[in-house]
């Protein structure tokens, strides 16, 4: 297992460098926006691009980038979106807002989603199951920004229960901040709850009809005991990776929800960096999400072994 893990980490670093280099070059190959002919700022822009080394070969630029990151953890400065500011500090400033909203959403929605899924599976082919399954499909089919607008209109405008926007400031765990993010959390949660309900119901339904469940019952376990000890554990082989996936989503933020509720998060950062050709921000976010994605896939792979002993890679061979 250790050898397998080390091997995966080495591959991960290799893949990471390839992806980052490709992105590094591709973003620089995008054409610069046009300025009106004879605009005097063109000359200033060109002078600055020259000074920034953007006219040097890509490999030279990439080498310097790697050197600065590895030796000084210097990710450079923003040239367009947040001119003159260190991109790392901007990224770190914006990460908590995305995380807090998504964290609340996951903490709320995963237990509810799993609980509803279990309930629907246990009540399979009853009106409860049909109702939950239908609602799940409807909720999944509606994009989260629709909920956002509906929630904002009903709860913020008509009922005046919550503020329209997320509160300003960095007191992330204060009560006013919590209240201000409730509409965003609600908007995000509907889809997640429905997703986990559907996944859990589908897996549990299948497992509950397995022969080993029959065996468990014939051994004298109650239905609840058999479900929790045997059925649920099997379901988690599918559910746990989905939970990991949701946690990665935490860091990515939600572009639309952040726009609607004025959440100063990272949702649109990568996209804006591409539109604005802000190379350093784009590369930082690319590195971050690539690293997170690769690590998550490693963790998920390894977690299979812990959840299900049948999937321990290369164990004791």
């Amino acid at each position: 297992m250790l050898k397998y893990t080390l091997q995966r980490i080495l591959y991960m670093i290799f893949v990471f460098l390839i992806i980052v280099f490709m992105c590094f070059v591709l973003i620089r190959m995008l054409p610069q926006p046009l300025l009106p002919p004879n605009d005097p700022h063109t000359q200033v822009i060109e002078m600055r691009r020259e000074a920034l080394g953007y006219n040097e070969p890509y490999i030279v630029q990439f080498g310097l980038f790697l050197k600065n990151v590895v030796t000084k953890f210097d990710w450079g400065y923003s040239e367009k979106l947040y001119f003159g500011q260190e991109v790392w500090s901007i990224f770190i400033q914006k990460l908590p807002a995305s995380m807090i909203v998504n964290l609340y959403s996951i903490v709320l929605s995963i237990p509810i989603g799993i609980a509803l899924g279990i309930f629907a599976a246990l009540k399979k082919n009853t009106w409860i199951d049909y109702t939950l399954s239908t609602l799940t499909m409807v909720v999944i089919s509606v994009p989260s920004f629709v909920y956002a607008l509906v929630v904002q209109y009903i709860f913020c405008y008509k009922l005046q229960l919550f503020p329209f926007l997320m509160k300003s400031g960095t007191d992330w765990f204060s009560w006013p901040m919590f209240v201000s993010v409730v509409p965003a959390v609600m908007s995000l949660s509907f889809g997640v709850i429905a997703g986990f309900t559907r996944t859990t119901r589908a897996e549990l339904t299948e497992v509950l009809t397995s022969e080993f469940m029959l065996l468990a019952r014939t051994k004298g376990l109650t239905k609840a005991q058999a479900t929790i000890r045997h059925a649920l554990r099997n379901c988690f082989v599918v559910i746990v990776p989905a939970i990991f996936g949701e946690f990665i989503g935490i860091l990515g933020g939600s572009l639309i929800i952040e726009r609607i509720f004025s959440i100063p998060g990272v949702g649109g950062l990568t996209l804006n960096a591409i539109h604005g050709l802000d190379y350093n921000i784009f590369i930082l976010t690319t590195c971050f999400y690539t690293a997170i994605g690769l690590m998550a896939s490693l963790v998920v792979d390894i977690s299979y072994g812990f959840i299900d002993p049948r999937i321990r890679m290369g164990a004791k061979k």
Partner: protein, 851 residues
Amino acid sequence: MKKMKKPFALLMATLLAASTLAACGDNAETPEGTEQPADSGQQGEAETTPAPEEDGGAEEAASYIYKDSVSQLCTNWNPHTYQTNDDAYLMNGALTISQLYTTVYNDELHPVDGLEPYAGYVIVPEMAADFPTDVTEAVKAEHPEFGIPESATEGYAWTVPLRDDLKWDNGTVINAETFVESFKRLLDPKLINYRAADAYDGTYAIANAMEYSLSGQPAFKSFGEMGTTYADYIAEGHTDDEVYVDMNGFWGVTAATKYGFAPITDDTMVRDPAVEEGEDEDYVSAKYLYDNYLAAGQPYEPYAADYLGIVEYPYEAGYSYDNVGLYASGENELTFVFKNAFDGYYLMMYAMGTTWLVDPELYDSCLSEQETASGSVWSSTYCTSVETSRSYGPYKLSAYQTDKSMHLVRNENWFGYTDGNHKYVDPEDHETYDMWQTTEIDVQQIAEPTTNKTMFLAGQLMGYALQAEDFDQYRNSEYCYSTPAETVFFLILNGYKNVIEDREQAADFDQATTDIETITLNSFRRAAAVTFDRELMAATVSPARSGGYGLVGSVYIYDPESGATYRDTDQAKRALCKFYSVDESQYASLDEAADSITGYDPETAKELYTQAYNEALEAGYITDADGDGVCDQTITITYAISQDSDFMTKTIDFMNDSFDKATEGTPLYQKIRIVKSAPLGNDWSDQLRDGLVDTCLAGWTGSRMDPFGLTDTWTNSRSAYDAQWFDPSTVSMTVNVDGQDLTTTLDEWSKGLNGTMISIDGQDYNFGYGMVDTEVRLDILAEFESTLMGVYDYIPILQDGGMSLLSQQVYYVVEDYSPVMGRGGIQYMKYNYSESEWDEYVQSQNGQLQY
């Protein structure tokens, strides 16, 4: 049941985590050194404002918060480096800055002879203690380094006395040296500041600012400037490696070419961003441009003198700032030396603009140097946070959160609150009031119009820009304000005959049922010009806009001293009467004649469509095989759309209906159809210029103070939509100047109006600003507009504008819109309710206001 405890406990623990997280911690944590506003648009929190009292003494204690929203909050308001309008928010509103001079309404405190109060404006000193003094003669004698022309006697050098009570928000004194140090940093060659170009380039450049800012940088010098040609240069013994193409100027290619020029031997392909990837010439090199366009015998050879040249280092490295024309001539006196001569409005409001003022000490502490692949580059965090900002205007930043919100409070160190000059007389009650009643400004980033609207209706925002779906409900509201914009949207009609013929020859084109050539007939285009009821069209498809009748919009001001607009001049009115065939003699006055213009004349249109039918039949564009007097083909006009939308559908439907009404009873009845193109994205304008699509509503926005500058857009081949089929250098125009008829081409007139010396009948003329009487310039512009409209490539249709709702909490002292003053800005805004009163009022309306 015991076995259930673990999972159940786990579930409960998870659920409780949310409330635990929410409960722990308090709201004391704020960004480092950043204060939080008392209220950032939140509901349910108690106001910190004390309740107003009944007597007048409560006025000072009351709080008046201007609650604004922006779709993108500023991220860098450093006056030396900002690049976008979003970043200019604090400067545009003069919130954290002041200028040397400003404009105020001509109220009873600032009367103007012959003008009703609030009908105009006056320029008054702001940071300056008095008006500028012309010192051209003295400076020319003492400072030859500034290069004031020998013949010049006035307009180049000016001294400005500064107030002696100027301070930054932290109380530090601002004097003449602060201005000089700021300007020096703006131009500093090592900082390569984006806004440096504003100071060293263009009409309002300061003497030698370019030499200082670009010292040590290479520059392109064309053969035309050198007075030579490519052939002569090579004959002198130079090689092609020494000859450069100005790739930026000639082809608009800036990326990946050092400074925008490259040797004609350089075959490095660089991306042309104006061309779609995969299309022809999406990548070009200097060699390619030379070989295919600028070399002898190639199509653009006549332009070779402008775009071929050499690269030199004209500005010596280490050039001293002592030679730059902005210096302190006293502790509180500045001297400006310009490259050109100015006076009046342009001098005080443009040339002496000092938005570049910075606190030198703080500025220097915000600089940092980064290592780059080609050396190093400097960056600055000045004006990117509360800590790195300094105000010298009425407000100062008190809180800022990136991409979220900012809050401003009064800058008590601003001289304007105590100098007694910032007052006005209310036109209604004739009482005198202080300007800037607003005590705080709160700005939230709100990207979604829907959120903006609901927050506005809940009383949490001061304004809401109406969206298309809002017009029916709110356009007649007493709180709705209409604001015109610069742009006139004109209908461009394709006249590129060669391409149209090629399109008709295409295999999939059915000439039996479709025709696209008739659109090129002058009679057809004249008919189209009177087919659309413009006001009805505006009301139907875009209610914030109004009918557009001329090519120059209604807000362009030709005389900044008086604020008079071009469209209100006799010349402009006569140009429209001439174009729309309105006989001035049939009306009591010229104004009446001009007012009668609707641009809609179905009877004339019918005559012209019938004439167009006959001409098209004769030319073989269309047929009438069965002799029933009805055109066999449908004249199909392809409308270039960048992307499909309801607006596009409504617009095209309206135009097709208008064609049907105008052709009823003619052989072309129901035979003219505008159809949408495929979505063309950014390529729509190129397709239009290349004649591959036939029409589009489009427009240009120019400088509001310079209608004359617009003429360049129609005569410059890089901007004109009809450059491929209309050559302004072949169309002559005659204007009577001082009793003498002068005739030259449209492009020459345009150059002359924009300050270039032109030659007519062997005599040199310059019709630029200040060079001739304004009436002469107006005569030329009106004749130019009339002549160009007579080509019928551009048919004016809509005047751009916007509509917005204003909160019931405030009102404008002057409701009428003025192109110079707008509606007065925040300084003239008055409050119906203080914050606490407003909260009570909104609650009494159940939190949902009616507009």
